[in-house]
Amino acid sequence: MHDQRDENAVEHGTSSPILIAAAWALVMIPLAWGLLSTLQKALLLFP
């Protein structure tokens, strides 16, 4: 498994890491916002 991950890392080098990070940020930022909003509501359960 360890070797497999290392080799994948080599292969991923050809796609721009900035592009990969931007793609993940695009989906993670709204998700994090939604998560935070839900967590704030959920905290009301345990005052």
Binding site: D3, Q4, R5, D6, E7, N8, V10, E11, H12, G13, T14, S15, L19, I20, A23, W24, L26, V27, P30, L31, W33, G34, L35, S37, T38, L39, K41, A42, L43, L44, L45, F46, P47
Partner: protein
Amino acid sequence: MSFLDKNNIIAKPGHSRWLVPPAALCVHLCIGQAYAFSVFNLPLTRVLGVTESLPADWELTTLGWIFSLSMVFLGLSAAFCGSWLERVGPRKAMFTAACCFGSGFLLSAIGVWTHLVWLIYLGYGVLGGIGLGIGYISPVKTLITWFPDRPGMATGMAIMGFGGGAMIGAPLAVGLMKYYSSPESVGVAATFVTMGIIYFIFMCIGATIVRIPRKGWKPAGFVEEKQPQKLVTRNHVDVNQAMKTPQFYLLWFVLFLNVTAGIGVLGQASAMSQEMMPGAIEAAAAAGFVGLLSLFNMGGRFAWASVSDYIGRKNTYIIFFVLGMALYALVPGTAAIGSVFLYVLCYCVIISMYGGGFSTIPAYLKDIFGTMHVGAIHGRLLTAWSAAGIMGPVLVNYIRAAQIDAGVDPAQAYTVTMYIMVGLLLIGLICNLCVKAVDAKHHYEDASDRDRGNTETAKPMEG
């Protein structure tokens, strides 16, 4: 429209597969908004009166059909568009989903402006529902072929997005309605237009990013096990042939029963928690309980599907059913002793397994039927979701009503339902235990089809 063609989205050598999950999430985070549609219900009952409902305003019962219609068309479009999706590839499917979902919002906005509810039925219910169905299944096969080493984790990431979509959709809709509301308007129509445009753009970004692997592509260093596990096939089964196998129907019931057990609770969570724990859980805390359940619904989709890569799909479902039975049996007891923590904990785990059931099923289908038509087979299996969407809430609501009519205290009115859920999960467990490898007579005859991914579609076996 060559930009959308399947041949134009084959990844070049060195393309990172880690760009594919965000593409899938772009779609699933949008369509997951469907679970948050209820935030529009109350404002829609005041479209004419604004501050209070007028006699000519829509009733809640009339509006309830919007969500129900969208769920029915989700199941139908997933079932009927699966084979088309296999043919045209994920980009065209995602773009079609974006057009349907986005235009569904726009048509609904016209429905609100003109106060014609059938336009909202047609818009969000029919068009939006078709967008939901196509969007839901469009990235599944693509992810499985990009992640043959971790198919559960890959589909879990996308389907987690569907759970997370409600968390974004609800506060976004509430915020927009607040922004657009005025003494003359509740702001729903303008919110529909804004959300339709935002979701269309976001889904189109996903369609632009998505790529399919070239034929025979494997992740670097990935070697298929020489001796595959008993329930993991290297063969493929055509979608129509899959419908002739007992495995398809067993898995249909596995999904149906797992979803039925969870969806009834999700739909009634707020009222049920207040009735089962009177005094301990009030309205505000109940809203928090619903929020917590949606968090576990989302987290369970990723966590359980990832776990299934290590312990196997069949074992994962065995855990869902056995643990689910134990927890449903425990719930009335936790309510009786007044332990909010234990009550909430039981339901959070139950709902995590409800979400996990959705995200683990694509990888289960891939194990049993191979990757060739897994998207189409998954689409047809999703009719179980539509059926459970009717069955689950009916079970919870009607049995509760019958119990209260019989004079049972509201705090105990759900006890019978919980025990019925235990029975349903037991049937699900038996169905899951009966799942065996598909008979070789159903396999695709061409041995070269073993490496088929997204780039080609095989011809059906004759005879």
